[in-house]
């Protein structure tokens, strides 16, 4: 049993007092970084990298990885409390998390986010421990046509996200697809919709769109509605601040869904944790008995994406540790950190540096428990933020949003964009256009366009490449089913009639 021996060795490394301390420091810093919008784990790890030169690879990677997954825990905090995503993977958490907070269930939403993160995060780590090599092989079988089908499936979920009017949902989606096409086209280096601005050549950053249409728009709306005297209700007493049994029960499937979806999408180098969180939210809604309540503050709408973005961590470490392939910016810098310490990440890392490999894996188990213990007691504390009077809170939100937007790229231009997206979100909410299709279109559109063009280059222009491969065919079929699902209620009625007649 290689795995058991390896894990035993790993816990031997990870449980050394110094490494326990580094793990805690990493998780703690990660939580803070996650809470602060704009400041991401990649930038933090890059800043702290020089401090780890003298630490030795095992301690170093244990601390830096703690920042990586700790940030996923913290990201939901401002999503829930301020409608302002702390990380791109927590954008979708705004939809139901903030609505829960508005109904006085902020503590419950934060608690559910922490519990979902713990359950799905642990699942991701167990899966990383047990099935890393076969799942890495699966990830490699995924190519552009499969990515296209995955993104198409995600977009099909818009039908479910669009709220009351399908037409308004689709228009919002089109705006999102347009926004994501701004910038330099990778295939031809043509610039699209840049209006001669060199600041737009790199496209628009997702965090700026999300902070604008969620947080800024929300503040503008509440100013317009003159909510100045109305402070959000925060119940007193610890029991009322934590999720109750009914809320946890509602999340049963979400914990499972978030774990699986997050891990599988996390393994794919061409998708990220924001895509994972959106797709698990969509799946959650599509299987729900009350999909119409999504967006009004249902606990499973928090549990599914928060679970998915934490299971994603275990998934993203699979190609990094088994093949030396980074799936995103944060894993790329972890990779360069390993190289810096003289560890060679790749297929031979498990043999060459078992102490680093297994030490890291074991520390993930420990770190996940630490994060839960660290985060749950903070819930009542964070919930108090909502007691801040509006005349303080609103300028505070503006301030954090502006700092966050600036720290993403260091361009003043982006603050102008933030204001524009805030206005856009405000106008959309006044005209009752849902913003979630816009966000979804923005996240998936770019990846989907790329995957389609890559597929067509591969097949020399044959569209059949999209349907002739099994994984992509199955996903496209599910997407078509979802698109036809508005017809389902009628079908369900007929079925229920049939059942009641039989029974």
């Amino acid at each position: 049993m290689d795995v058991i021996n390896g894990l035993a060795q790993g816990f031997g490394v990870a449980l050394m007092p110094a490494n326990l301390m580094w793990c805690f420091i990493g998780c703690f810093l990660g939580t803070i970084v996650g809470i602060l919008p704009g400041l991401g784990p990649a930038a933090t790890i890059a800043m702290l990298l020089p401090l780890t030169y003298g630490m030795g690879p095992a301690s170093g990677i244990i601390m830096l990885a703690g920042i990586y997954y700790g940030a996923k825990y913290g990201g939901s905090t401002t999503s829930i409390l301020l409608n302002m995503p702390g990380e791109s993977s927590s954008v979708v958490t705004c939809l139901d998390g903030y609505q829960m907070a508005r109904r006085g269930r902020a503590g419950a939403a934060l608690g559910i986010a922490a519990i979902a993160s713990f359950i799905a995060g642990s699942f991701g780590i167990v899966a990383l421990t047990l099935v890393a090599p076969p799942i890495a092989a699966f990830a490699l079988s995924f190519s552009s046509p499969e990515y296209f089908a995955l993104m198409f499936l995600g977009l099909a979920l818009v039908v479910l996200l669009s709220g009351e009017s399908l037409l308004k949902g689709l228009m919002s989606l089109l705006v999102g697809l347009w926004l994501t096409s701004i910038g330099t086209d990778l295939f031809t280096t043509q610039s699209r919709f840049t209006f001669g601005q060199s600041s737009l050549l790199g496209g628009v950053d997702f965090m700026i769109v999300a902070i604008g249409v969620f947080a800024i728009a929300e503040v503008l709306s509440s100013i317009k509605d003159r909510e100045e005297t109305q402070v959000l209700p925060v119940p007193r007493g610890l029991r009322n601040l934590l999720p109750n049994w009914a809320e946890l029960k509602a999340c049963r499937f979400a914990f499972f869904n978030g774990s699986i979806t997050g891990f599988i999408i996390g393994v794919l180098p061409g998708a990220g944790s924001s895509i994972a969180s959106f797709i698990s939210y969509g799946i959650e809604k599509s299987v729900s008995k009350h999909p119409e309540k999504f967006g009004t503050g249902v606990p499973e709408g928090v549990a599914a994406p928060e679970g998915a973005n934490n299971a994603d961590t275990g998934g993203a470490l699979v190609p990094l540790l088994t093949l030396g392939i980074p799936g995103g910016g944060t894993t790329a810098i972890l990779l360069s950190a390993l190289v810096l310490w003289g560890v060679k990440p790749g297929p031979l890392m498990m043999q060459d540096s078992p102490d680093v490999f297994w030490g890291l894996v074991a520390s993930l188990y420990i770190g996940n428990v630490m994060l839960l213990v660290l985060n749950l007691p903070l819930v009542p504390l964070f919930a108090q933020i909502l007691r801040i009077p509006v005349f303080v809170l609103h300028p505070l939100i503006f301030g954090i949003a502006i700092i966050g937007a600036y720290s993403v790229s260091g361009n003043l231009f982006d603050i102008g964009l933030l204001a524009a997206f805030g206005l856009l979100g405000f106008i959309m909410s006044q005209l009752k256009y849902p913003v979630s299709p816009l966000i979804l279109g923005f996240v998936l559109g770019d990846a989907m366009e790329r995957a389609l063009r890559q597929s067509l280059i591969m097949s020399q222009g044959e569209l059949s490449i999209l349907f002739s491969r099994p994984i992509s065919a199955v996903m496209l079929a599910i997407a078509v089913l979802i698109l036809l699902s508005p017809l389902l209620p009628r079908f369900r009625q007929m079925k229920q009639q049939a059942i009641s007649e039989n029974g």
Partner: protein
């Protein structure tokens, strides 16, 4: 700002005593320096910049702190525009790479060229190798060329933007040999390698450090290296010339540059700093670990090198059908 006020004095002095000016007239930074990189944390230039700063700190070469400033966007255009705004500022320098040269050629919005900025020092050239999957039928680069000639357009190479070095190498090889194969762009290195490992494409032109472990573990095979001489780590892989294809190697340079109108004493200071840093043990270890080729040049030679590089790229890109705007 003090540096700017003493600049005229300094100029006069330098001219009078030909670089033997007393210490008080030389530029010496008094506030933290900014090192601008065009990639986000974890990107190639960001990692190189941080390694350079670490090497400088270890060797105690700078009296002040140096901090990274990530000006992401537009494949270098945002960082170049930012540097151009800092005209004459002695406290800002940046890391350049090949895209700083090629981007302005192809994009009208990227309107800051290397000629507008002040090249300080070339640091490294990144070698490259052409790799295939270990179970690929291709054993040599000539197998690839023959197969591509037999069925034009069916072989596939994964890579980055069409301005990137891997695309340029393909272009050079195709126009020399008359073979044709397609090029599929992926935004991240991870996706490019995955496409090759998964068998969805046939080959890739890659930096040796990125492919090293996959070659060592027997998942990939290197067919040819785009270097003048064989790298130590790839002793049994022929260079392009040895494989019988006589084309210039397309370099991937990385180095340091400054904003426009850099005063001569400031330029001299940074030239010296980079020269000393490049000899420090920390930097040499970084170069070794990442299988880079150290190539340090002074400011004058770097400018000449970049001019030549631009000319070369202009020819190759226009030959590849990329629409050039300058």
């Amino acid at each position: 700002m003090r540096a700017r006020m003493i600049m005229p004095t300094c100029l006069a002095l330098t001219a009078a005593v030909a670089f033997a000016s007393p210490a008080w007239a030389e530029f010496k930074p008094t506030r933290p320096l900014e090192l601008v990189v065009h990639s986000g944390p974890g990107g190639g230039n960001d990692i190189l910049g941080r390694a350079l700063i670490a090497a400088i700190n270890d060797a105690k070469l700078s009296p002040v702190r140096i901090q990274i400033n990530n000006k992401v966007g537009g494949g270098g255009a945002s960082a170049a525009a930012y540097l151009a705004e800092k005209k004459g500022d002695p406290n800002v320098i940046g890391v350049f790479t090949s895209v700083w040269v090629t981007n302005p050629l192809a994009q009208a919005e990227a309107n800051v060229t290397m000629r507008d900025l002040t090249p300080i020092s070339l640091l490294v050239l990144e070698p490259a190798v052409l790799v295939v999957r270990a179970d690929s039928p291709f054993k040599t680069i000539n197998d690839v060329i023959e197969a591509a000639k037999a069925k034009p357009g069916t072989l596939k190479q994964s890579g980055g933007s069409v301005l990137a070095r891997d695309a340029v190498v393909r272009q050079v090889l195709m126009s020399k040999t008359g073979a044709r194969w397609s090029f599929i762009s992926f935004p991240s290195g991870g996706e490019r390698i995955s496409a090759l490992l998964g068998g969805h494409v046939d080959m890739m032109v890659i930096e040796p450090a990125e492919a090293g472990e996959l070659i060592r573990s027997g998942k990939l095979r290197a067919l040819v290296q785009f270097t003048e001489e064989r790298l130590d780590e790839f002793k049994d892989v022929p260079t392009l010339k040895e494989a019988g294809i006589d084309v210039p190697n397309v370099p991937q340079p990385r180095g340091i540059l400054g904003p426009p109108d850099m005063a001569p004493d400031v330029l001299k200071y940074y030239e010296d700093l980079i020269d000393k840093a490049s000899k420090s043990p920390g930097w040499q270890k970084f170069v070794r670990d990442n299988l880079l080729q150290s190539k340090v040049m002074n400011a004058k030679d770097t400018s000449a090198f970049l001019n030549e590089h631009e000319k070369e790229m202009r020819d190759i890109l226009s030959g590849a059908g990329v629409k050039l705007v300058r």
